[in-house]
Amino acid sequence: MDVLSQFGLFFATLAELVTSPVVLAILLLSSLSGIAFGALPGLTATLGVALLTTLTYGLPLEHALVALLAMYVGAVYGGSYPAILVNIPGTAASAASAMEGYPLAQRGEGARALGLTTTASFIGTAIGMLFLVLLAPQIVTLALQFTSYEVFLLAVFGILISGTLTSSDLVVKGWIAGLLGLALSTVGRDQLQFYPRFTVGMPELDSGLEVVPVLIGAFAIPQIIRVLRDDLALGQPKTFKRILPEFRTIVRNAKHNVRSALVGVGIGSVPGIGEDIAGWVSYGGAKSTSRHPETFGKGEPAGLVSSETANNACIGGALIPLLSLGIPGSPPAVMLLGALMIHGVTVGPMIEFDRPGFIIQVTAILLLASAAMWINGMLLARHVVKVLRVPPAIFMPVVAVLSVNGSYALGLNVFNLYLMVPIGIAAYFLTEWKYPISPLVIGVILGPMADENLRRAMMVSNGDFTPFVTRPVALILLIAIVLIIASQVPPVRRAIGGLGRRLMPARPSRSAAQQTADG
């Protein structure tokens, strides 16, 4: 499809969506719910998308997509409310925003901080959407050349990179989590020869583990346990006046916006790592490239703009591998993948053949979702903030009930609940022991793809492994995998660290530089 017809399709889709009252109502309500969800600490964008998946599975695909994307965008943005007003990030994505937002709120500029956040988030989502529409079709074209060898290596790469980058402790723990996810994905009858694996004689396990109950268990139950066990209590949120768009400040920080959006899209497109890392990397980048890094941590608008632009641009970035390769780029994108599977949409290289114009449709919905987020943020922030007064002891048990009912509703099978609970409890203990959960769920999602393609590749090549090194893309992926593993070997890690220090020496702070000049 050429560029002009793509534009035409985009605007036609946008017009069709905007002129439908049902779509507008779903858009605004879901966006508002997403903002409230993100604003409540303990509730995440992933959980919001998961719960909405169960509520929207009976809706037409277009309406469900509108609801889910509006929830996703709203929740990522909504996490900034408690970050700014109470110094407790509502979602991990807004952790960096608290560094600058709360000091701004403390000196009476809470409205200004929220205005900056709202506009920066809108710009971030819009730029992410732009990259989605530009890059996804190109990646789809490339991915159509992939055979079983490349697909298998891509799945392994996705699990490894997710384990490497999301692990807060040893990287080995991230890899173990990924392999556990792969192990869980092997439960059931295999897709090629229909041989039962690890079904322990239970016919309910013949079709394997249902993805959405596993995801709800892995994400919802640990959150519920953690928030209630740790007895999280919020302070009184800072009050604020009317929120203004703060366009002038945004324009002054345009370079931070653009850089942060690029960081967000880049990080979002890496499987499994999400908005939180994008926020921190972008914040760190803004601080290290600032002429006055000593102002950071004291209410520097550039820091707030950077983190919020990046975490929202990450949404578009995460959708790029999701739609083009079927590999989710972030935990909420994992849930979106589950939702799309329920609606019978198989994302990946064949998406434009199965559903022509699907990527354009998602892009149009993403733009509308960001607009709805901006409108809700500007007009209703003062009311949404009231949800911060709801104690976790009230809303967390309700979330538990919705998770249980939602998991049941998807297959009308109580067995899904029997699966969800032990997986959730195991996920809780894994996170307590500092194992990341994202690689585990990426392993569950990509496991069937990796398994089927490896075995097909072996059948086609009669057990010969040489195509893995003779095919160019497969070789590149194999080298990337080897490099990821090798980079964790201590001598190699020390060598990389030394090289990094030589290439990018630390910039002296202004005060230190001044001391040197004075000295």
Partner: protein, 192 residues
Amino acid sequence: MLVGLGILALSGLLVRHAARTLGRDGVREALRPHATLVSARNLRLYLILGSIIAYVYVFVPHVDFALATAFFLAVFVFAFHLDREASVTRNLVLMAGLAVVVGAVLALVEAPARGPAVDLLTVAGIIAVAAVNARALVRQGLALKPWWTGLAVALLTPAVVCPVFRYGLLVPLPHEGLVIGSLDALRYALFR
């Protein structure tokens, strides 16, 4: 096999790392049972885990979903929203108690009478949880406002969620008994 070997190999690396970092004494110390197993924080963990397990494995498959949810919410909200430490133990005992009784009834009572029996037991359980927690608050001279909030959440949530799923999304609930059966009868009577 590949996945299993990978997990074993990486686990071996972890053990090696732990042994190098902590030394033999450190590993022995880490493996020793700790007295903190009965701390306040762990007591909350036991309540949460116990409640979720009882709710999903005992109540949801066999008790009217609305009643099971109301009981679960009552226990949870009263445990964490009231006077905190004492209420956690109190509600843990109530949850465990009803779960055991319901389990016993399910095992001992024959099929047609089983459903109404466990539903009525759960109603009694909700009333008991509310009464015990109210009495505890009154005895300590504390305000009843959190109690009223908890009770409202426990009763209103299933009152909203069940009709939305049952009649809005047309999703049958896991077990439909006393309350949902009555709602069905009312619906047919009103909209026949």
